[in-house]
């Protein structure tokens, strides 16, 4: 389960480069997602660390085999959903594309397969597909005291086994109980308060924070 932000980024790299074999520059990616360069850079760095992207010349990155399969999967979901929304339900193209951007992250492979065969493989022409805007990927450190967030991913999952055993794993909802100016945080999970050092908190990527 990859956070939707990451899927957006991989999808953007794929669309920027056409077939996904050429490298894409940081600027292109940021532009495609309509996000700032600095935000793009931190997320790209995580994706490189996780092995979805690899560094090419300069600040450009290229999709790895693993990244390509994710990106292609998401892109396909987008196309199928958009087609379904416009052709079958008659939703306006712009609105359909926007909806598809959200739905593509939650829907299962199986449902997409069935939807696709239901529509007999119809897909909208490539040029009518709008790109999805990038959302901000944030870590536990970007949240405020009192926020309730869902853990999306943990970077370097093999490093901090204790997080798993205390109940901090992808999909779990946690509440930020305390955040000191020096970035140490306390989160409440399963009714227990857990104190976490900044360098560990920064490896916990969360969703649905402001």
């Amino acid at each position: 389960m990859l956070p939707s932000t990451f899927e957006d980024y991989l999808e953007a790299v794929l669309t920027v480069t056409g077939n996904g074999r050429q490298p894409a520059t940081m600027q292109d990616i940021a532009a495609a997602l309509g996000t700032g360069r600095a935000t793009a850079e931190t997320t790209i760095a995580s994706l490189v660390e996780e092995g979805y992207l690899e560094r090419a010349t300069g600040d450009a990155v290229r999709l790895t085999e693993k990244g390509r399969s994710v990106a292609a999967g998401v892109a396909r979901k987008h196309r199928v959903l958009q087609c379904f929304l416009t052709e079958m339900l008659g939703v306006d193209a712009d609105a359909a594309s926007k909806e598809a951007c959200t739905l593509e992250h939650g829907i299962s492979d199986e449902t997409i397969e069935r939807l696709s065969s239901y529509m007999e493989g119809a897909e909208p022409p490539q040029e009518r597909i709008r790109r999805c805007r990038g959302r901000e990927a944030c870590t536990l450190l970007d949240c405020k005291e009192g926020d309730t967030v869902r853990v999306a991913m943990i970077r370097g999952p093999r490093r901090n086994r204790r997080l798993l055993d205390l109940g901090i794993f992808p999909g779990e909802v946690v509440q930020i109980r305390r955040k000191l100016p020096n970035q140490s945080v306390v989160v409440r999970v399963k009714g227990c308060d857990i104190a976490i050092s900044p360098e560990i908190a920064t490896s916990i990527i969360v969703e649905s924070c402001p």
């Binding site: 140490s184 009714g191 976490i196």
Partner: protein, 616 residues
């Protein structure tokens, strides 16, 4: 018969163990207290039952020392039944471990402890679902009031069937378990562990890794994450069935004051300084009383006997050693241990660790290091033992250096007795200031040069609770007796040797030999070198020895303020005492111990010499 207690940290395992066996096991309210197996016996219907208290852990698949120890113990099937202790106010998280223990297939009984606190929080507990789903006996207890504790042993002895509960795993994991079970003679538990890379059959691990890679690429989560999530979700289901929340009663949330920068940090500093002040003031008052009583009722009557000179010298040495031992042990060490026990049992230490985390990062450790560093103010020996709760060797090395530099209560005696007594209380605090600055510098330097990976802190904030005075006294007493056990023989032997050396005039020769050097380097008379050397045995002996060798307890008469000040600073920094060196050897090895010893000697002499140059 042998029974083992398993559970999360701070669930009341040690308390239950204590009540069942009547032994003095230490109970602490911070994770990682019990690092070794505690064993005790109890009698039930004329049958001997051996109880084993396993260290508190969060999981059987982690890699900390405690987790490895418990895993090994359960793997050997070294017990007839398992008593799984659960904190019912944190049921869901506790059930996660319980489910792992249930997979081991040992006969089991579940103890839902802290039922009284759950009631106070407005929780209604129904033990039925756990009994039905896991097929084991469930007992509701309140260990702090001793309620239902007597039902545990009979239930555990009657438990013969292993738990029948099975965790429903993700279907890919279940498929993997089935195929591993066909390929190898492995049961469910072994297959699950092989998928996470645990086990001793290399072929099976190889096969499990291939399957795990396949599952990981499909789920984009590691197998360990999937398995943990399945267990947590099952635990949540059971917890939801077991607990019914009536009305959430409003609770005062002390953490809203304790864990904020303000007023949290002032409170933390206030507690540390207050602790030192209390030990300083009350301790020195009590010490005077005890030393005075000893003089009047033991030493003077003994001298009045008029024994032959050699016997008199020996007897006086023994009496002086006893006087020094009791004069320090009770006022300073006991007092300190009482305060520390209150802090530990209340759960405040984990708050202190959280607040100090970023400060500790600067000196190359994480917040957990606050616990050994605070303990070190009492005695370095238990402090060195507690550095095990730091994860990496790098942190343990840094902590062992810094802990040995912290002025323990014996060194407080020197600072209070020599500097506060003859120079002034302000000067006494300046000695602390000098030592703290040196500790800080050492930490900053070590965090740059010490090799190894950095680890952050992931620490559970244990619930705050009111410490039980009986338990506090019991714990302080057991630590004090440990201290006396290590310190007293050394003190007696050292004192007798010193008495004999003085009697035969060997001391005088040694002093004449070193006097030119100590005078040139530190401006101190020769006999102060002897006092320093005896300080290696026990730090406070440096003070006692100095008084004996100077021939008067009124040191201000024979030495100048500067000399006394320099003597105190050098003694405080100079070499950890013998007992500390012994535990250092056990915990960090001979090379690091030697490095620490050389470093502290050099530092003590260097700082002393610098002071003499600048101030004289």
């Amino acid at each position: 018969m042998r029974l083992a207690l398993v559970g999360n940290p701070s669930v009341g395992k040690s308390l239950i163990f204590n009540q069942l066996t009547g032994l003095g096991v230490e109970v602490s309210n911070y994770p990682g207290t019990t690092v070794e197996l505690q064993r005790g016996n109890t009698c039930f219907q004329r049958e001997m039952v051996e109880l084993v208290d396993l260290p508190g852990i969060y999981s059987l698949e982690g890699n900390s020392d405690e987790e490895t120890l418990v895993r090994g113990f359960l793997d050997r099937q070294d017990t007839d039944a398992v008593i799984a202790v659960v904190n019912v106010t944190r049921l869901e998280r506790n059930l996660y471990l319980l489910l792992q223990v249930a997979e081991y297939g040992l006969p089991m009984v579940v103890v839902l402890n802290m039922a009284d606190e759950a009631l106070k929080q407005g929780l209604e507990i129904d033990p039925g679902p756990i009994r039905d789903l896991l097929g084991v006996e469930v007992i509701l207890t309140a260990a702090s009031q001793g309620k239902n504790i007597d039902r545990i042993i009979p239930a555990a002895l009657a438990a013969t069937r292993p738990s029948k509960g099975e965790i429903p795993y993700d279907h890919h994991v279940e498929a993997a378990v089935r195929s591993l079970g066909k390929m190898f003679p492995a049961d469910r538990k072994e297959s699950i562990r092989a998928l996470q890379g645990f086990g001793d059959n290399p072929e099976m691990l190889e096969a499990a890794r291939t399957i795990a890679d396949e599952i990981e690429s499909r789920h984009r989560m590691t197998v360990a994450q999937i398995i943990a999530a399945n267990r947590h979700n099952f635990a949540r289901r059971i917890a939801d069935l077991t607990l019914k929340e009536e009305a959430m009663l409003p609770r005062t949330d002390l953490d809203s004051i304790l864990t904020r920068v303000f007023p949290g940090i002032p409170i933390l500093l206030g507690i540390l300084v207050g602790m030192l002040l209390v030990v300083f003031i009350v301790g020195s008052f009590l010490e005077e009383v005890i030393v005075g009583l000893f003089n009047v009722f033991a030493i003077q009557p003994f001298l009045a006997l008029g024994l032959p000179p050699l016997a008199e010298a020996l007897g006086t040495s023994v009496l002086l050693a006893l006087q020094a031992g009791f004069g320090i042990a009770f006022p300073y060490v006991f007092l300190f241990y009482i305060i520390i026990s209150v802090l530990e049992d209340s759960g405040y230490m984990t708050r202190a660790a959280f607040l100090a985390d970023s400060a500790m990062h600067r000196v190359g450790m994480h917040g957990g290091a606050v616990i050994p560093l605070t303990l070190a103010f009492g005695c370095n020996v238990p402090a060195i033992m507690s550095i095990r709760l730091l994860h990496s060797r790098r942190e343990r090395i840094i902590a062992s250096f810094l802990v040995t530099m912290v002025p323990c209560s014996a060194r407080t005696v020197i600072i209070a007795g020599i500097v506060a007594g003859f120079v002034g209380i302000g000067a006494a605090f300046s000695v602390y200031a000098i030592v703290f600055v040196l500790i800080l510098i050492t930490g900053l330097v070590l965090s740059r040069v010490a090799p190894g990976e950095r680890f952050g802190m992931i620490m559970e904030m244990v619930p705050l609770r009111r410490p039980d005075p009986r338990l506090v006294m019991k714990k302080a007493w057991s630590r004090l007796s440990e201290f006396l056990f290590i310190a007293m023989p050394l003190l007696l032997a050292g004192s007798v040797v010193l008495g004999l050396l003085g009697f035969f005039g060997i001391m005088a020769i040694f002093e004449q030999m070193v006097e030119p050097y100590t005078m040139a380097l530190l401006g101190l008379p020769g006999y102060s070198a002897t006092a320093l050397i005896f300080g290696i045995l026990r730090k406070e002996m440096a003070f006692e020895t100095l008084a004996i060798l100077a021939g008067t307890a009124d040191l201000g008469m024979v030495l100048s303020s500067l000399q006394l000040y320099i003597f105190a600073v050098v003694t405080v920094l100079f070499v950890p005492c013998l007992a500390t060196i012994t535990v250092l050897l056990r915990e960090v090895g001979s090379r690091i111990t030697l490095a620490i010893t050389l470093y502290t000697v050099a530092l003590g002499l260097l700082i002393g010499a610098l002071m003499y140059r600048i101030m004289a």
